[in-house]
Amino acid sequence: MKKRTVLVADDEVNLLNLLKDNLEEEGYEVFTAADGEEALKVWVQKRPDAVVLDIEMPRMNGWKVLEEIRKVTLSNEVPVILILSAYAQHEDIQRGMALGANKYLTKPFKTRALVETIEEYLKGK
């Protein structure tokens, strides 16, 4: 079976490496990006099966990246998981859903929770 692919974008390098290691361990091929523009570039090139986006990133924030991704995909085609910060308010969550995010995680979250979320969405794909 072909390896399923995930794009993870976060400007915190330690967090990025952690998520990459854990996902690779579960058998995914992982592409990483350290800012929003890079994330979009990788998205276009690689068309991964799932995307994890930090909201606060330099150059282009996660909202914008999500918007671009949703111009060409539906949420039941490519799951996008958002990582929200401390001040994740109700509006942020609504905004994420309106833009077509599948799920959001709030910092601090458990790595396991993220891995399981991706598993769940990609199950049977």
């Binding site: 400007d11 915190e12 330690n14 967090l15 490496n17 952690l18 998520l19 290691d21 854990n22 361990e25 800012d35 330099p58 150059r59 910060s85 401390a86 001040y87 910092k107 601090p108 979250f109 458990k110 790595t111 396991r112």
Partner: protein, 268 residues
């Protein structure tokens, strides 16, 4: 009611004026308190965000080690432990900064003033930085024999350290950091220059606001909460001094931070 005597009238007018002035003063301090309060609320919100990032990394790495210890190669384990120690120090630094800055915002720095010569204090800070950051070069030029000022020596070093840390942090590898120290117009003037990207003019004052970090690329790769300069200015102002960002003496690219502190005894 009997009409007021001229004396009573005079009293009355004075009272009214007084009440009016007091009201203005009260309104003024109320406004300042409101500003302080909203700053504090904002402060708490951003702070909790800043703490959540290292917390997420700490939890994640610790959990991963716990769950996968037996499977992980030695090298990975070492790397994860390094990250845990790095992120914990980041948290500790942040907590120290929060503490210092909340004291400053409330005007509650408890300072132990003494008249001290700033030159050896600066010299010892430079020495520590030379040891800690061997890849950078530090120059120290003083044109005064001694610069006595009334300061809290610990806080003085903390302020200087925040500025020096920036110089180190924002200067690419092998950069030069230069300190010029002189006595000028009754003040000790300490100028810290580096050859990093510098701060664009329009951000030179903003850089002192709590949590301000310019969003450009260079900056984004360096860790920080945007509190260092706020703390440095808060401390130096408590010594009746000033901190500003200026052009370098040579006019070349880079950052120059100038600290001025009144000399003790008004000597120049």
């Amino acid at each position: 009611m009997a009409p007021m005597t001229p004396k009573e009238q005079d009293w009355n007018e004075r009272l009214e004026r007084e009440v009016y002035q007091r009201t203005l003063a009260l309104q003024d301090s109320l406004k300042r308190l409101e500003a302080l309060n909203s700053m504090r609320a904002q402060f708490v919100a951003i702070m909790s965000h800043e703490l959540r990032t290292p917390a997420t990394a700490l939890i994640g790495y610790a959990d991963t080690l716990k769950e996968k210890w037996a499977k992980l190669p030695e090298k990975k384990i070492q790397k994860y432990l390094d990250v845990i120690s790095e992120e914990s120090s980041r948290m500790v630094t942040l907590m120290q900064e929060i503490f210092e800055i909340s004291r400053i915002l409330e005007g509650k720095l408890s300072l132990q003033f003494q008249t001290a010569d700033l030159i050896p204090l600066i010299g010892s800070a430079v020495k520590e930085f030379r040891l800690r950051y061997a890849d950078k070069s530090f120059g120290f030029k003083e044109t005064a024999d001694s610069l006595e000022a009334k300061v809290d020596t610990l806080y003085f070093k903390s302020a200087l350290t925040h500025v020096l840390l920036n110089a180190v942090k924002y200067t690419p590898d092998k950069g030069n950091i230069l300190l010029f120290v002189e006595s000028k117009g009754g003040e000790a003037v300490i100028r810290i220059e580096d050859d990093g990207p510098g701060i664009p003019r329009e951000y030179r004052e903003k850089a002192f606001e709590p949590f301000f970090r310019s969003m450009d690329n260079v900056n984004r790769k360096t860790p920080g909460a945007g509190l260092g300069l706020t703390i440095a200015r808060g401390v130096i102002e408590a010594f009746k001094g000033r901190v500003v960002v200026a052009d370098k003496l040579t006019g070349k690219q880079g950052c120059a931070v100038v600290i001025s502190i009144p000399l003790a005894g008004g000597s120049s």
